[in-house]
Subunit: 113 residues, 2 copies
Amino acid sequence: MPADQLSTTFQALADPTRRAILASLTTGEKTVSDLAEPFDMTMPAITKHLKVLEKANLIERSREAQYRPCRLHPEPLKDIDEWISGYRKFWEASFDRLEEYLKQLQTKEKSDE
Amino acid sequence: MPADQLSTTFQALADPTRRAILASLTTGEKTVSDLAEPFDMTMPAITKHLKVLEKANLIERSREAQYRPCRLHPEPLKDIDEWISGYRKFWEASFDRLEEYLKQLQTKEKSDE
DNA sequence: ACTGTATTTTACCAATCAGTTAATTAACCC
DNA sequence: GGGTTAATTAACTGATTGGTAAAATACAGT
Protein backbone atom coordinates (compact mmCIF):
# COMPACT_ATOMS: atom_id res chain seq x y z
CA MET A 1 0.00 0.00 0.00
CA PRO A 2 1.80 3.10 -1.19
CA ALA A 3 1.11 5.78 1.38
CA ASP A 4 0.62 9.27 0.02
CA GLN A 5 3.58 11.63 0.07
CA LEU A 6 2.24 13.80 2.88
CA SER A 7 1.70 10.81 5.17
CA THR A 8 5.19 9.51 4.40
CA THR A 9 6.69 12.89 5.27
CA PHE A 10 4.73 13.24 8.52
CA GLN A 11 5.64 9.68 9.42
CA ALA A 12 9.34 10.38 8.85
CA LEU A 13 9.15 13.46 11.06
CA ALA A 14 7.35 11.63 13.86
CA ASP A 15 10.60 10.54 15.48
CA PRO A 16 12.94 12.72 17.56
CA THR A 17 16.07 10.96 16.29
CA ARG A 18 15.13 11.65 12.68
CA ARG A 19 14.28 15.27 13.41
CA ALA A 20 17.63 15.66 15.18
CA ILE A 21 19.35 14.21 12.11
CA LEU A 22 17.62 16.79 9.92
CA ALA A 23 18.61 19.55 12.33
CA SER A 24 22.18 18.33 12.20
CA LEU A 25 22.13 18.50 8.40
CA THR A 26 21.14 22.18 8.45
CA THR A 27 24.80 22.98 9.05
CA GLY A 28 25.84 21.06 5.96
CA GLU A 29 26.65 17.64 4.59
CA LYS A 30 27.47 14.91 7.13
CA THR A 31 28.66 11.32 7.02
CA VAL A 32 26.66 8.54 8.67
CA SER A 33 29.19 8.33 11.52
CA ASP A 34 29.00 12.07 12.05
CA LEU A 35 25.23 11.82 12.26
CA ALA A 36 25.32 8.77 14.53
CA GLU A 37 27.78 10.26 17.01
CA PRO A 38 25.32 12.18 19.26
CA PHE A 39 23.02 9.18 19.69
CA ASP A 40 23.17 6.25 22.07
CA MET A 41 22.26 3.90 19.27
CA THR A 42 24.00 1.38 17.03
CA MET A 43 24.94 2.20 13.45
CA PRO A 44 22.32 -0.05 11.85
CA ALA A 45 19.64 1.88 13.71
CA ILE A 46 20.94 5.10 12.20
CA THR A 47 21.13 3.50 8.76
CA LYS A 48 17.46 2.61 9.12
CA HIS A 49 16.51 6.13 10.14
CA LEU A 50 18.41 7.47 7.16
CA LYS A 51 16.54 5.08 4.90
CA VAL A 52 13.23 6.39 6.21
CA LEU A 53 14.35 9.98 5.62
CA GLU A 54 15.63 9.10 2.16
CA LYS A 55 12.38 7.39 1.15
CA ALA A 56 10.51 10.45 2.42
CA ASN A 57 12.79 12.46 0.16
CA LEU A 58 13.99 14.57 3.08
CA ILE A 59 17.66 13.76 2.53
CA GLU A 60 19.87 12.99 -0.46
CA ARG A 61 22.91 10.79 -0.42
CA SER A 62 26.09 10.50 -2.46
CA ARG A 63 29.34 8.59 -2.33
CA GLU A 64 32.79 9.80 -1.51
CA ALA A 65 35.31 7.01 -1.07
CA GLN A 66 34.04 4.84 1.78
CA TYR A 67 31.70 7.57 3.02
CA ARG A 68 28.06 8.05 2.11
CA PRO A 69 27.45 11.69 2.93
CA CYS A 70 23.90 12.94 3.51
CA ARG A 71 22.49 16.34 2.83
CA LEU A 72 19.18 17.99 3.54
CA HIS A 73 16.50 17.95 0.85
CA PRO A 74 13.89 20.31 2.31
CA GLU A 75 11.23 20.27 -0.43
CA PRO A 76 8.81 17.88 1.33
CA LEU A 77 8.82 20.26 4.29
CA LYS A 78 7.42 22.86 1.96
CA ASP A 79 4.44 20.58 1.29
CA ILE A 80 3.90 20.18 5.03
CA ASP A 81 4.10 23.92 5.41
CA GLU A 82 1.52 24.42 2.68
CA TRP A 83 -0.79 21.83 4.23
CA ILE A 84 -0.53 23.46 7.62
CA SER A 85 -1.13 26.93 6.15
CA GLY A 86 -4.76 25.99 5.72
CA TYR A 87 -5.04 25.76 9.50
CA ARG A 88 -3.11 28.87 10.45
CA LYS A 89 -6.23 31.00 10.78
CA PHE A 90 -7.60 28.58 13.37
CA TRP A 91 -4.86 29.19 15.87
CA GLU A 92 -4.28 32.81 14.97
CA ALA A 93 -7.84 33.81 15.79
CA SER A 94 -8.57 34.12 19.48
CA PHE A 95 -10.80 31.41 20.81
CA ASP A 96 -13.94 33.55 20.81
CA ARG A 97 -13.32 34.85 17.36
CA LEU A 98 -12.67 31.30 16.16
CA GLU A 99 -16.06 30.23 17.41
CA GLU A 100 -17.56 33.20 15.65
CA TYR A 101 -15.73 32.28 12.46
CA LEU A 102 -16.89 28.68 12.58
CA LYS A 103 -20.47 29.77 13.05
CA GLN A 104 -20.20 32.03 10.04
CA LEU A 105 -18.76 29.17 7.98
CA GLN A 106 -21.60 26.89 8.97
CA THR A 107 -24.20 29.51 8.09
CA LYS A 108 -22.50 30.21 4.79
CA GLU A 109 -22.39 26.48 4.02
CA LYS A 110 -26.12 26.13 4.50
CA SER A 111 -26.84 29.12 2.27
CA ASP A 112 -24.65 27.53 -0.41
CA GLU A 113 -26.79 24.38 -0.73
CA MET B 1 7.60 5.38 26.79
CA PRO B 2 6.11 8.85 26.62
CA ALA B 3 6.84 10.20 23.17
CA ASP B 4 7.49 13.93 23.01
CA GLN B 5 4.62 16.17 22.00
CA LEU B 6 5.99 17.01 18.56
CA SER B 7 6.41 13.33 17.66
CA THR B 8 2.90 12.57 18.87
CA THR B 9 1.51 15.36 16.71
CA PHE B 10 3.45 14.32 13.60
CA GLN B 11 2.40 10.73 14.20
CA ALA B 12 -1.26 11.73 14.42
CA LEU B 13 -0.98 13.66 11.16
CA ALA B 14 0.73 10.79 9.33
CA ASP B 15 -2.56 9.27 8.25
CA PRO B 16 -4.83 10.51 5.46
CA THR B 17 -8.01 9.51 7.29
CA ARG B 18 -7.03 11.54 10.34
CA ARG B 19 -6.05 14.55 8.23
CA ALA B 20 -9.39 14.31 6.44
CA ILE B 21 -11.13 14.26 9.80
CA LEU B 22 -9.31 17.44 10.81
CA ALA B 23 -10.22 19.03 7.49
CA SER B 24 -13.83 18.08 8.08
CA LEU B 25 -13.75 19.76 11.48
CA THR B 26 -12.64 23.07 9.98
CA THR B 27 -16.26 23.68 9.08
CA GLY B 28 -17.40 23.18 12.65
CA GLU B 29 -18.28 20.62 15.27
CA LYS B 30 -19.23 17.15 14.02
CA THR B 31 -20.54 13.94 15.53
CA VAL B 32 -18.65 10.67 15.16
CA SER B 33 -21.17 9.42 12.61
CA ASP B 34 -20.85 12.64 10.62
CA LEU B 35 -17.09 12.20 10.55
CA ALA B 36 -17.30 8.51 9.68
CA GLU B 37 -19.72 8.96 6.81
CA PRO B 38 -17.20 9.73 3.98
CA PHE B 39 -15.01 6.74 4.81
CA ASP B 40 -15.27 3.12 3.80
CA MET B 41 -14.43 2.06 7.32
CA THR B 42 -16.25 0.70 10.37
CA MET B 43 -17.15 2.89 13.31
CA PRO B 44 -14.58 1.38 15.71
CA ALA B 45 -11.85 2.34 13.24
CA ILE B 46 -13.04 5.94 13.35
CA THR B 47 -13.28 5.83 17.13
CA LYS B 48 -9.62 4.77 17.19
CA HIS B 49 -8.56 7.55 14.85
CA LEU B 50 -10.40 10.03 17.05
CA LYS B 51 -8.62 8.68 20.08
CA VAL B 52 -5.27 9.25 18.38
CA LEU B 53 -6.27 12.80 17.49
CA GLU B 54 -7.55 13.43 21.00
CA LYS B 55 -4.36 12.15 22.63
CA ALA B 56 -2.39 14.39 20.28
CA ASN B 57 -4.59 17.20 21.53
CA LEU B 58 -5.74 18.00 18.00
CA ILE B 59 -9.42 17.61 18.80
CA GLU B 60 -11.64 18.16 21.81
CA ARG B 61 -14.76 16.23 22.64
CA SER B 62 -17.92 16.88 24.56
CA ARG B 63 -21.24 15.18 25.20
CA GLU B 64 -24.65 16.05 23.93
CA ALA B 65 -27.25 13.38 24.63
CA GLN B 66 -26.03 10.21 22.90
CA TYR B 67 -23.65 12.16 20.69
CA ARG B 68 -19.97 12.87 21.36
CA PRO B 69 -19.27 15.85 19.15
CA CYS B 70 -15.69 16.67 18.14
CA ARG B 71 -14.17 20.02 17.43
CA LEU B 72 -10.80 21.14 16.15
CA HIS B 73 -8.11 22.08 18.67
CA PRO B 74 -5.44 23.58 16.42
CA GLU B 75 -2.75 24.55 18.96
CA PRO B 76 -0.43 21.58 18.32
CA LEU B 77 -0.36 22.59 14.66
CA LYS B 78 1.15 25.85 15.77
CA ASP B 79 4.05 23.92 17.31
CA ILE B 80 4.55 22.05 14.05
CA ASP B 81 4.49 25.34 12.20
CA GLU B 82 7.10 26.78 14.53
CA TRP B 83 9.31 23.74 14.16
CA ILE B 84 9.09 23.88 10.40
CA SER B 85 9.83 27.62 10.36
CA GLY B 86 13.42 26.80 11.15
CA TYR B 87 13.67 25.08 7.77
CA ARG B 88 11.85 27.63 5.64
CA LYS B 89 15.05 29.32 4.51
CA PHE B 90 16.29 26.01 3.09
CA TRP B 91 13.53 25.68 0.56
CA GLU B 92 13.09 29.37 -0.06
CA ALA B 93 16.67 29.75 -1.29
CA SER B 94 17.14 28.55 -4.86
CA PHE B 95 19.03 25.29 -5.10
CA ASP B 96 22.30 26.91 -6.15
CA ARG B 97 22.10 29.57 -3.49
CA LEU B 98 21.29 26.91 -0.91
CA GLU B 99 24.46 25.03 -1.82
CA GLU B 100 26.37 28.27 -1.54
CA TYR B 101 24.81 28.92 1.85
CA LEU B 102 25.65 25.48 3.16
CA LYS B 103 29.25 25.80 1.99
CA GLN B 104 29.55 29.13 3.75
CA LEU B 105 28.17 27.59 6.92
CA GLN B 106 30.69 24.77 6.75
CA THR B 107 33.58 27.18 6.18
CA LYS B 108 32.40 29.35 9.02
CA GLU B 109 32.10 26.29 11.28
CA LYS B 110 35.72 25.32 10.62
CA SER B 111 36.98 28.85 11.26
CA ASP B 112 35.10 28.77 14.57
CA GLU B 113 37.06 25.82 15.95
C1' DA C 1 -39.64 -1.38 30.29
C1' DC C 2 -38.53 -1.88 25.07
C1' DT C 3 -36.54 -0.40 20.91
C1' DG C 4 -33.56 2.11 18.18
C1' DT C 5 -29.55 5.06 17.47
C1' DA C 6 -24.74 6.54 18.70
C1' DT C 7 -20.58 5.24 20.27
C1' DT C 8 -17.07 2.58 22.65
C1' DT C 9 -14.81 -1.59 24.34
C1' DT C 10 -12.88 -6.06 23.80
C1' DA C 11 -10.43 -9.43 21.48
C1' DC C 12 -8.26 -10.54 17.67
C1' DC C 13 -5.13 -10.16 13.28
C1' DA C 14 -1.53 -8.95 9.94
C1' DA C 15 1.76 -5.44 8.91
C1' DT C 16 5.04 -2.06 10.18
C1' DC C 17 8.42 -0.04 13.44
C1' DA C 18 12.54 0.80 16.18
C1' DG C 19 15.89 -1.39 17.92
C1' DT C 20 19.50 -5.31 18.50
C1' DT C 21 23.68 -8.57 17.15
C1' DA C 22 26.30 -10.77 13.72
C1' DA C 23 27.80 -11.06 9.15
C1' DT C 24 28.87 -8.65 4.80
C1' DT C 25 30.37 -5.22 1.47
C1' DA C 26 33.24 -1.40 0.04
C1' DA C 27 37.02 1.42 -0.04
C1' DC C 28 41.14 3.03 1.91
C1' DC C 29 46.26 2.39 3.31
C1' DC C 30 50.49 -0.08 4.03
C1' DG D 1 47.00 -9.27 0.00
C1' DG D 2 45.94 -7.94 5.02
C1' DG D 3 44.13 -4.82 8.24
C1' DT D 4 41.22 -0.86 9.33
C1' DT D 5 37.35 2.09 8.90
C1' DA D 6 32.61 3.15 6.99
C1' DA D 7 28.34 1.58 6.19
C1' DT D 8 24.80 -1.78 4.95
C1' DT D 9 22.29 -6.19 5.05
C1' DA D 10 20.19 -10.11 7.31
C1' DA D 11 17.75 -12.15 10.82
C1' DC D 12 15.53 -11.58 14.85
C1' DT D 13 12.54 -9.32 18.70
C1' DG D 14 8.96 -6.83 21.13
C1' DA D 15 5.84 -2.95 20.68
C1' DT D 16 2.68 -0.30 17.99
C1' DT D 17 -0.60 0.37 14.15
C1' DG D 18 -4.76 0.14 11.49
C1' DG D 19 -8.15 -2.54 10.68
C1' DT D 20 -12.05 -6.08 11.75
C1' DA D 21 -16.41 -8.40 14.12
C1' DA D 22 -19.03 -8.91 18.05
C1' DA D 23 -20.46 -7.42 22.47
C1' DA D 24 -21.35 -3.71 25.66
C1' DT D 25 -22.76 0.97 27.08
C1' DA D 26 -25.48 5.20 26.96
C1' DC D 27 -29.13 7.81 25.97
C1' DA D 28 -33.86 9.01 23.61
C1' DG D 29 -38.50 8.22 22.42
C1' DT D 30 -42.62 5.80 22.91
